[in-house]
Symmetry: C2
Subunit: 461 residues, 2 copies
């Protein structure tokens, strides 16, 4: 699809200018932007805007109830637009003493750039800018398709405002496909392509049975909040790991045959996980590739339980209050609002009207791109060209992200990943880094997608 | 039973010398003796020994692995001996700012002596010395029965060494009955007589499913320690509050008809507890006098559960470790060692071999004196004489205390309570006090028991 001479010109451009892009990444990483602490946010947003303006993008900085969102658009030769989702905020750098070089003093050593945000997500963002530059250079200064960047300022704190923002700017964000953040390669160098994430509902259950804790010598008459909470939790999920809430599975769309083929084509991680985590038995006794398939099952996970005396040693007390935090990971086509209503109705039905249920954090919906979407094929195919390895395609992964906030409101666009990460780049941890070869290959991959996305549009329209 | 002129002489003596005994109580309370902190222990033990020596008791101070035990004996006219169990240690006085007068600067105001230990248990101990003095005065310097005092130094920290001590000194402690500490009157002025306490087994359950907590996006495959612990807890007790451990109830001796009559004669506390504690529903839906009867059922109480993230807000994590602390309150004739073995066997049978069970704190056995024992009748009858109110007899109360450590090794002796407490004396709390009228009546009651115990011996032998 991609003209051979165009590809050669893209690669030549990126090879010639690689050092400049690493320097640009270092410049962006030197600007702290810790959303959890509100540190350097405005400055970093302005720097991102400047980097985009320098490339002729039409840039807008939008205020939200939280941190600003940067949206930048450049027209292309085709009517079609490819959207990139990135974020300029980073995780807190602590503990500082574990960093070899300081987190906001970017340093190149051993073929990698070390800094907070080097990979997640500033390096990835700059690699995409490099790809834009390279594609323009290969096309005499034009872009074969339109390009829109959405650069979030709150990804590391759960993007609480992005869904609303998208809803309010549907025309501005109109596109025919999106490349999400956080792609990369697996330990064996295979490019990894993620097509779906699960949704999430996070709730707190709390029970209060008395005004205060009481002496456990009265346990024959006074109601224990811990036991009460346990009964409520027990009503939510059975020992067979099946969620007992009526209707919970009603909307579940099972994986397609292709999804299962893709899952079965992924490596068998059983021994790796057993060794790394010391797991004796997996959920439902699963082994081997069944562990991969299980991602299409929704979960009901206890994140915490707190009841009674939390100190050392014995204390004889009847807890008056008990709380548990739970998250449900939801698969297509479950809806967190619907699940929340069903949890409440179920507890009421079971007589647990005294169990309070509150939502914590923002809900997220599942999102999944069909594996036969042309963008998936383009991304997989160009990945194989760049990395000389077959692409690994995960139709669904366990965690959640706000892909749903874009995919559905923007008309069911395909959303895929392609990036600069590798398994050991210390994202969210001390000594975060991006390997220069991964940055380089990541930019080459994105440029090929950009180039192909335009051609793709002609093929499919 | 008690000769009228003897009783009159006892009362006259106590009336005449009341101020001196309050002063003696103040002297003892001025000596701190906080076992939880090891503060003033030796000094207080020596002061107790001196108070007993001054009265011609043969006093021995025994070292234990913890604090000293004082044992004092005085011969009487009869072969029979009555044993008094008291303790010289006190609860920590904190928070100090809530005391009107300082805890170790005893102060008389509004008809009461305020000090840490004024009621629990120094005032009670001195009231018993006063009773000894009064009985001697009424009997021309002799005691009608032998008297042995055991004054513990670790009652407020669970008497970890008293059972072993008794086992090693069976001859020294030989007696035909005992008056336990912590008696008194109820809110309506009825003397209260406690005949039994439950035993206790305290355990910790812990489960570890992985080396470390993991992201909850993997909950479809990774084992959650909180859910695992819940399943184990669920196997121990059903929603019907029935303990599911095989054989748990095998040794349970049901209350006798007399026990039930006594329980039914106690006040109905339902409304009082509902209001005070805000309880909507009692265990097993009990109401009214059924609440009293329930004390003869053993319990399985969750004292605490801890699993996962304990901070504010949401965190998406699969807990790798979960722990719960439980106490079982045991009724006659359950045995904490036996119950412990059954818990372990049951968990193994149910497949919970991965759930670790450890014992915390010292176990205690249940103990109960038969309500038709002559000492019970004597204590009830003399209580009615002193307080002009019928005695309330509790055949069993919910908490535990080391009565078993004396009652069984010393040959199944009867153990009852009679003392100086009332419901609002702030034991264990700031502004602990003993009302002087309660001190006075408590001494009068004990003196009558002492006097009657000797006569009782002639009647029953």
């Amino acid at each position: 699809m991609v003209m051979e001479n165009t590809t050669q010109r893209i690669d030549a451009f990126l090879q010639a200018n690689l050092d400049d892009y690493i320097a640009e990444t270092a410049q962006l990483c030197a600007q702290p932007s810790v959303s959890a602490k509100g540190e350097g946010i405005e400055e970093c947003a302005d720097l991102v805007a400047k980097l985009l303006e320098q490339r002729g993008f039409c840039v807008q900085k939008f205020a939200t109830p939280g941190n600003p969102v940067i949206v930048a658009h450049a027209e292309g030769q085709s009517e079609r637009t490819l959207l990139f989702y990135n974020h300029y905020d980073v995780q807190p750098p602590e503990p500082l003493e574990l960093w070899t070089s300081l987190p906001f003093e970017p340093t190149v050593r051993d073929g990698a750039l070390y800094a907070r945000g080097a990979a997640d997500d500033k390096g990835e963002f700059i690699a995409r800018l490099a790809a834009v530059d390279a594609v323009r250079a290969a096309h005499n200064g034009t872009l074969p398709c339109g390009v829109t960047f959405v650069v979030d300022g709150e990804e590391e704190i759960g993007s609480p405002n992005i869904a609303q923002f998208v809803q309010e700017h549907l025309n501005l964000l109109k596109c025919q496909g999106a490349i999400w953040e956080a792609g990369g390669i697996d330990p064996d160098g295979h490019p990894m392509l993620l097509l779906g994430v699960r949704g999430i509902l996070y709730i707190e259950l709390s029970v209060k049975t008395m005004k205060r804790d009481e002496h456990s010598g009265k346990a024959h008459i006074l109601p224990n909040a811990a036991w009460r909470l346990l009964r409520a939790l027990d009503s939510l999920k059975g020992p067979d790991e099946r969620v007992r809430i009526p209707g919970f599975y009603d909307q579940v769309k099972p994986p397609s045959e292709i999804d299962i083929e893709l899952l079965d084509a992924l490596p068998d991680y059983e021994q790796f996980i057993r060794t790394k985590l010391g797991v004796r038995e997996f959920v439902r006794g699963r082994t081997g590739k069944d562990l991969n398939r299980a991602v299409f099952e929704p979960t009901c996970n206890i994140d915490s339980i707190t009841a009674g005396y939390q100190g050392e040693g014995p204390k004889t007390v009847i807890p008056a209050k008990a709380t548990a935090k739970l998250d449900f990971r939801l698969v297509p086509n479950q809806d967190p609002d619907d699940v929340f209503a069903k949890v409440r109705a179920h507890l009421d039905d079971q007589g647990f009207t005294d169990v309070r249920v509150t939502r914590l954090g923002g809900a997220m919906w599942p999102a999944k791109t069909s594996s036969d979407d042309p963008l998936v094929k383009l991304t997989a195919c160009t990945g194989e060209q760049v990395y000389s390895q077959p692409s690994l395609i995960s139709p669904m992964i366990g965690p959640s992200s706000p892909i749903y906030a874009f995919a559905y409101p923007l008309g069911g666009i395909p959303v895929v990943t392609a990036g600069v990460g590798y398994f050991d780049n210390c994202g969210h941890a001390p000594n975060e880094h991006v390997r220069i070869k991964d940055f380089h290959n990541g930019a080459r991959h994105i440029a090929r997608i950009l180039d192909g996305f335009a051609v793709l549009s002609h093929e499919t329209e």
